[in-house]
């Protein structure tokens, strides 16, 4: 499938909107605003046509290829942003709560998150290998015992 046509002074790229979201096409276009004149056309549900006309003398094939690469770049960025949306929101909420706990006083959503975290921490096995006990507390008795043995000798 040939989705890149080169004319006298511009390159015309045809994009399938099922593969690339409109936001992705806008984002890729913005990158090229300094290098080329851009015109968007077509049908956002069937076929999006992007016309790139370089502002200065430039290899049209290379320009078109770089635009297609930028589409993949932003397409991937968008997908990852969607995948990590929840975790990013959670981290942000956690940071807000840590810095200003008063924010949760009137907010039911924050209260629910805190309750959930508390339940999680209760369900978590408490220190099964005694890692959380400070060294002094754990070995103080043994140390004192040895000292006493040395004194008696």
């Amino acid at each position: 499938m040939n989705n890149m046509n080169i004319t006298d002074n511009s390159v015309i790229i045809s994009v399938n909107p099922n593969l690339y979201a409109l936001e992705t096409i806008y984002s890729a276009s913005y990158v090229f605003l300094d290098r080329a004149y851009i015109l968007l056309n077509g049908d956002p549900k069937k076929e999006i046509i992007i016309q790139l006309q370089p502002k200065e003398q430039e290899d049209l094939k290379k320009l078109g290829g770089e635009f297609l690469n930028e589409l993949i770049n932003y397409g991937d960025y968008k997908k990852r942003a969607e995948q990590t949306k929840e975790i990013r929101e959670m981290l942000l909420q956690r940071a807000i709560i840590t810095n200003d706990p008063s924010t949760i006083q009137d907010n039911e959503e924050f209260k629910a998150i805190i309750d959930e975290l508390e339940i999680d921490s209760k369900n978590c096995p408490t220190n099964p290998k005694e890692i959380a006990i400070p060294w002094e507390e754990k070995y103080e008795d043994k140390k004192k015992g040895k000292e006493n043995e040395n004194k008696t000798e």
Partner: protein, 66 residues
């Protein structure tokens, strides 16, 4: 000089703002709901049409109109 900007991709508000910003270079107006824009140049400018399209896109980016 007429430009037809596809209404599915270009925001009317951004076009109106671009027309205001381009007042020093040209006089223009939106002719119809299909976003056909007429530009009357004050001075000869070879790339004004393309610059106008890019400017509209740029405005849409800055204002998150998309």
């Amino acid at each position: 000089m007429k430009i037809k900007l596809n209404k599915d991709f270009y925001n009317k508000q951004a076009i109106e703002e671009a027309l205001n910003d381009f007042e020093g270079v040209c006089k223009g107006k939106i002719l119809n709901e299909d976003m056909e824009v007429e530009l009357q140049l004050k001075e000869e400018n070879k790339n004004i049409k393309q610059e106008f399209c890019n400017y509209v896109l740029g405005l849409m980016k800055n204002k998150i109109m998309v």
